[in-house]
Each structure stands twice: as C-alpha cells, then as structure tokens.
C-alpha cells in the first residue's frame, strides 16, 4: 500500500503544508469578518462551517491531486459553494444509480465507501489504499488544529 512513506520519516511535511494553508484561510476569514464578532447563532454556525470547510479544503489541497480522495473532496467543496441553495443531507451519499461493488459481501464496505471521499467509484483495493491515506491525513489535520487552538488560546 503506497501510504506516503514520508509521512513517517518526515511527519512535518504534510502537516506543514496543511498548517500554512489553514492559517492563511483563517486569516482571510478574519480579515473579512473582523468588524463585529458573530453574536447570533446563525452567524456563529456560518463561521463554524467556514472554518471546518477551510480545514478540509486545506488538507485536500496540501495533499494535492495524486489521491482520488483529495480530488473528490475539493470537487465536493467547490460544488457545494456553487449550490448554496440546496443543502446536501449526507456527505458522500450517492443517490440511486451507481451500485457500489461489494467485494467481500460485507455491509461495512458500503459504509466505508460512503465515508471516504470518492469511495463510491473505486475498486476495493484502491478503496483500502485511499482509506489508509485519508486516515493518516485526518489524523495529521486533527493534530495541527489542536496545536493551533493551543497556541491561540494562551
């Protein structure tokens, strides 16, 4: 499984790339909204969503186009900002037509395909591969976000 070896030997690489992008995104959010702190819950919810989206977008962008999940993630985010009118109910849910292959005959495989961005269309081997990488990146993302939170609140 081609999990990026450098995530072990050079653990800062993806984290650094993510951190830079994420911090820039937060900075932009700040500059656009620094007049009034969000007082009502709708504004707060909007800001929360913006930050969460920025986190996922920053990670997917830091990973680059060589992974199917990062491409799918960026595509989803771009499409979502285009259709603000129609909120999606379940992230990654595929409506109807495509029938996910059920390699092992297990329900968990279908579940996994819905969790991993772009998972619906992959063959099973690639799904496992992409899942591993996705998990590593999610973990890195969480660690960096924790650090930023920590440094920001002291």
């Amino acid at each position: 499984m081609k999990i990026a070896k450098n995530s072990h030997t050079n653990p800062t690489s993806i984290k650094t790339r993510f951190a830079l992008r994420f911090l820039r995104a937060i900075d932009n959010l700040n500059n656009n909204n620094n007049i009034s702190p969000p007082l009502n819950s709708a504004d707060r919810r909007k800001r929360f969503r913006a930050i969460r989206t920025a986190a996922y977008a920053s990670m997917a962008s830091a990973v680059g186009p060589n992974k199917a999940w990062s491409r799918a993630m960026l595509r989803k985010i771009r499409n979502r900002t285009k259709e603000m009118i129609k909120p999606r109910t379940r992230r990654g849910a595929v409506r109807g037509s495509t029938n996910p292959r059920n390699e092992l005959g297990l329900g968990q495989e279908k579940e996994l395909r819905e969790l991993v961005p772009g998972g619906e269309a992959m063959d099973f081997r690639r799904l496992l591969n992409e899942t591993g990488h996705y998990i590593q990146c999610l973990r890195a993302q969480v660690q960096v976000m924790r650090k930023i939170l920590h440094y920001s609140s002291t």
Binding site: A50, F124, I135
Partner: protein, 92 residues
C-alpha cells in the same frame, strides 16, 4: 471463508484481487487503527477491521467538528494581537 473465495473468483476479469492481497491490505489498514482493545492479533476478520475503520473515520471527523467549533469561538473574540499571532505562525 469459502464463500469469500468463490466471490472473488466470480468477480469479473480485469480487477481480480487475490485473497492474499486483500488480507494484506486489510492488515495494513488494521495497523493504522488505534488499539482500542488489547488485541495485537492479526486475526481480525476483514469485516471487523472495516467496521473499526469506519468508526475511526467518524470519530476523527467529529474531532474536526469540535476543533472547528472551538477555533470559531476563539476567532469570534479575536483582536489585533491574535491576528498578529497567526501571521507570525505563518512566517516560520
């Protein structure tokens, strides 16, 4: 186990994946999961590993939600010093 074998034999030509290969990938995935129980066993069934993987992904995404929420609250009370802090982190 035999039913699994027959399924992979029946799967169409181009993406024939052997059981060994699947097992290898499943066990690699297993390595990534946090060790919740005392199990160092490699004997985890594929179904269990996939299930734990799904659970793990969901818990990571919940953490992202929580951290985003807290960052958002923090930024709501931001001031000049904070913006400077972020910029200085960017400078490194």
């Amino acid at each position: 186990m035999s039913s699994r074998r027959s399924r992979s034999k029946n799967s169409s030509g181009s993406s024939r994946i052997t059981d060994d290969r699947i097992n290898e990938l499943i066990s690699q995935l297993h390595q990534l999961l946090p060790e919740m129980h005392n199990s160092r066993s490699d004997k985890r069934s594929a179904g269990k590993v996939l299930q734990e993987t799904c659970n793990y992904i969901r818990s990571l995404e919940r953490e992202v939600d929580d951290l985003s929420e807290r960052l958002s609250e923090l930024l709501a009370t931001t001031d000049e010093n904070h913006a400077a802090l972020i910029r200085s982190l960017l400078m490194q």
